[in-house]
């Protein structure tokens, strides 16, 4: 069981960071690299954890960390600009300040996954919280079996981390399959939802652990299909999302059934989350 890790200082107090780089991934999605402004040397995090990012004067946002856990001196976030606060965040210039609280929440079960095959299933911007898992497996290749990455996006122009997808596909014992819902005539890859890629995945479900992140409805279909393909419920992990505010389980904004997503999650095994995924009232 992966334990939750929270910041060692006052969890409600943002640390000052400055923007080192802003990289445009797609028309509306950007990757921000932040570095500590107080010389603290950065912050350790587990793949799957998130931070609360303050855009001073605008608001605070929960954003999953999408960088490499080995690179402690910087924090990387991939953000889709969909509202006032996210727009303000991705519009920061290099050198401008951003407040960071965290990291918060549970991580992906990368230790539990050791010794077996790892299946990463991402939809849309859901690849961002899973990218640290991919780094972790590739840095410690001898500890894991095959790595299979299944990634679905709306269209070819909505794909994140294009160069890395190509680079990952060249690594040994690694299979990367990408599909889009709407492919143009020049697209030579798969067309269809991400679940249609399962049949091409070369791994052994009985000795595999699956980690999925994407829109909740996608994860519901993914988890159900993984079960059909022989995955045990306790070996399927999902990253849940609710309206997180305090990030430490005080405010209750992100309560989902008996769980606080910020503190008990955001990563949950399917056997814990299944009853809630099937309740339409939630």
């Amino acid at each position: 069981m992966t334990m939750a890790t929270t910041a060692t200082t006052d969890p409600m107090l943002p640390e000052p960071y400055s923007v080192r780089q802003v990289l445009k991934e797609t028309a509306d999605t950007f990757t921000l690299t932040l570095e500590s402004s107080n010389g603290s040397g950065g912050s350790a995090f587990q793949p799957g954890q998130f931070s609360m990012l303050w855009v001073f004067g605008v608001g605070e946002l929960p954003i999953s960390i999408s960088g490499d856990p080995v690179e402690r001196h910087r924090l990387v976030y991939t953000v889709r600009s969909v509202g006032q606060a996210t727009h303000a965040l991705v519009s920061r210039e290099v050198g401008e300040a951003v407040g960071v609280r965290g990291p918060f929440g549970t991580g992906w079960p990368v230790e539990k996954a050791q010794g077996g095959d790892v299946l990463v299933i991402a939809g849309g911007i859901g690849l961002a919280p899973l990218r640290p898992v991919i780094y972790e497996v590739l840095h410690n290749r001898e500890k894991y079996g095959r790595l299979v990455i299944l990634y679905g996006a709306r269209s070819p122009r909505d794909l994140l981390y294009r160069k890395e997808l190509t680079s990952w596909a060249r690594q040994r014992d690694t299979q990367v399959l990408v599909t889009v819902d709407y492919g143009g005539l020049s697209w030579r890859g798969h067309v269809g939802v991400v679940t249609t890629l399962f049949k091409y995945a070369r791994l052994q479900p009985a000795r595999s652990l699956a980690m999925a992140c994407g829109p909740e409805i996608m994860m519901r279909f993914v988890a159900r299909d993984l079960e059909t393909h022989g995955f045990a419920r306790e070996n399927i992990y999902l990253s849940m999302e609710r309206n997180m505010k305090c990030a430490v389980g005080f405010c209750g904004h992100c309560q989902h059934g008996p769980h606080f997503i910020c503190k008990d999650g955001p990563i949950f095994s399917y056997d814990r989350m299944r009853p809630l995924l099937e309740k339409y009232e939630l």
Binding site: R80, R154, G192, V193, I217
Partner: protein
């Protein structure tokens, strides 16, 4: 070299089918190849076969007037292409475009329809299998229609 009979008997689509039936199916089967960029069938043409894709990728496309073809989904290794041969009026509803060189086994639908009419047990086994594929693709299409990656 793998024989047609062996390939059909081992294919997951035909799992659980008695050897008597796989032998019958083999009698209606042939190896085929399509060059990348060619059409395997087009909307409106007679549907007299279905395919077990062995290698390559096939795009299912639909045409709308004055627009470029719209790619609805792709099928690859191990998948089944085509069910219009099974249901009247036996006409293809979509274009099947080999986007890569494709090797497949073609099963003669006319021959199979006749065998299914003569032997309803075989007909039921075939219908069960195609109904499963139709259900899978209907569900995938529903999920695709939800446009889940769009901004809330």
């Amino acid at each position: 070299m793998e024989t047609l009979e062996h390939i059909i008997a081992e294919h997951p689509f035909f799992a659980g089918l008695e050897s008597y039936y796989t032998n019958l199916l083999t009698g209606c089967a042939a190896n085929v190849r399509f060059d990348g960029g060619t059409y395997i069938f087009k909307e409106g043409e007679e549907a007299n076969e279905f395919y077990l894709i062995r290698t390559g990728k096939v795009a299912l496309e639909i045409f709308a007037p004055q627009r470029k073809p719209i790619m609805l989904s792709t099928l690859g290794e191990g998948e089944i292409l085509g069910w219009s041969w099974l249901l009247p009026p036996y006409r293809w509803k979509l274009h099947a475009h080999a986007v890569e060189p494709v090797r497949a086994i073609a099963l003669d639908g006319k021959c199979l329809r006749m065998k299914c009419e003569q032997n309803h047990d075989l007909g039921y086994e075939m219908l069960k299998r195609f109904a499963h594929i139709m259900e899978e693709r209907l569900e995938a299409t529903r999920l695709q229609l939800l446009d889940v990656y769009a901004v809330g």
